[in-house]
């Protein structure tokens, strides 16, 4: 086989490799699903972010409109500060509220944005005022058990002073 044709074959080989890489990057991974250029930043503070992760989606009415860019702790208020990368084309009123929700019973957590009615919109870098923390299953359960115990304690309670009164 001539040298030229071997070079061509190796060229085809490398080209196949590059095509495979492009396939993996663009079709099978998230490169190209909105990059950094056409986004703006919003902040939101939560008392408890639960299991929220970086790159989790931000959804409004179920439509993905942004992603969580970073999660940090405010050293003064001890609240979780979540930085959101929002798509430039959608803007939200200044009185919008953010909630941390779970998709399905065991699914990933995401941020749900509910648009408010104000005419002014949130400018880049502004903080969403109204937030609702993630629901932590353990605290729900303990609250439930606590209520149960309180109910159970409430019914025999009138009997106790009655007994004490007799003695």
């Amino acid at each position: 086989m001539g040298k030229k044709s071997i070079e061509t074959l190796v060229g085809v080989f490398v080209l196949l490799g590059i095509l495979g890489l492009l396939f993996l990057a663009f079709k099978a991974a998230n490169l190209g699903s909105f990059g950094g250029g056409d986004t703006y930043t919003l902040l939101a503070k939560f008392d408890n972010i639960g299991g929220l992760k970086v790159r989790a989606p931000v959804r409004s009415a179920g439509v993905t409109v942004g992603r969580v860019a970073a999660i940090t702790l405010d050293p003064k208020t001890y609240q979780g500060v979540v930085r959101l990368d929002m798509q430039r084309v959608v803007q939200f009123p200044i009185d919008s509220s953010a909630r941390i929700l779970t998709s399905g019973l065991l699914g990933d957590q995401y941020i749900g944005l509910e648009a408010g009615g104000d005419e002014k919109v949130l400018a880049p870098g502004e903080t969403i005022k109204q937030t609702q923390s993630a629901v932590v299953l353990e605290s729900l359960i303990s609250q439930f058990l606590f209520n149960k115990a309180a109910d159970a304690g409430a019914t025999p309670a009138p009997a106790a002073p009655a007994n004490g009164g007799k003695k």
């Binding site: 080989f13 490799g17 890489l21 396939f23 993996l24 099978a28 991974a29 790159r55």
Partner: protein
């Protein structure tokens, strides 16, 4: 057998010496690379011999692995009503683990053995000695181009393995079983990160390329110049490169994906 102490001590020294010899050989090989790069055609010929000729087995295996992975994970996932996540599962298993590792194992069997046998026979036929007589360094003329060719070919083969595997999983899951087309891709795209998953997978395959080709070249060069010697060297190539790839894979995975 003599005194057990003598036996253990002798084996220990033997292992340490082999380790040192490997390290010495590796450095010598690295130092001969600049000379080899002055004749890129030799490297290109090796990429052809190592890469192009391994293409068929790599792609066939990738397709088969993708098919089976899709079927198996479908049966497991459908119990939890999560069959849409099939694409993500297949993609991550292929890109992070199976792509680099299975490609390296196949590579050791397909290309590593032929490198060892070729170099071993060159040595047995005293071609390497003849080169040295003509003041040509066999390391830079014979070994380094093969080494470089292997390092170039391995990541390309691993990427193709993963891509073909994902396409195979797509065919089985979406076309045959009927998993939703859009969910298959979108859950995959949401869950796979280009740098963290795809990038680390490629980094792995480059490391495996270095390991496999180095073992093959070393075993060929250090073979005993007899038919049995070449046979043993070829066997050792497969055994050593497979074991080192598997061990290295654990270390790399722990380093890359722990955080």
């Amino acid at each position: 057998m003599t005194n057990p102490f003598t036996f253990v001590g002798a084996r220990t020294i033997e292992v340490l010496r082999a380790l040192g010899h490997h390290a010495y050989f590796f450095v010598a090989l690295l130092r001969s690379i600049p000379t080899a790069l002055r004749r890129p055609l030799l490297v290109i010929q090796q990429v052809h011999a190592i890469g192009n000729l391994s293409l068929l087995i790599i792609m066939a295996s990738g397709l088969a692995v993708g098919f089976v992975l899709a079927l198996q994970s479908y049966y497991a996932l459908v119990t939890y009503g999560a069959s849409e996540s099939l694409g993500l599962l297949v993609n991550l298993s292929l890109v992070r683990e199976l792509g680099p590792v299975v490609t390296a194992l196949l590579f050791a069997g397909r290309a590593g053995t032929s490198l060892t046998a070729e170099i071993g026979l060159m040595k047995a036929g005293e071609q390497l000695a003849a080169m040295e007589m003509m003041a040509i360094d066999p390391k830079s003329r014979v070994l380094a181009p093969r080494f470089l060719g292997g390092i170039v070919a391995m990541p390309v083969l691993a990427v193709l393995f993963s891509s073909i595997g994902i396409l195979g999983a797509y065919v089985v899951a979406v076309r045959l079983i009927g998993v939703d087309d859009g969910n298959f891709w979108s859950i995959m795209q949401n869950g796979v990160d280009v740098w963290r998953d795809v990038g680390n997978g490629i980094l792995k395959s480059i490391v495996f390329g270095v390991i496999c080709t180095f073992v093959a070249v070393y075993q060929g060069y250090e073979t005993q110049a007899t038919p049995e010697g070449v046979a043993h060297a070829t066997t050792r190539t497969v055994v050593f490169s497979s074991l080192s790839v598997l061990a290295m894979d654990f270390v790399l995975t722990a380093l890359m994906f722990s955080h």
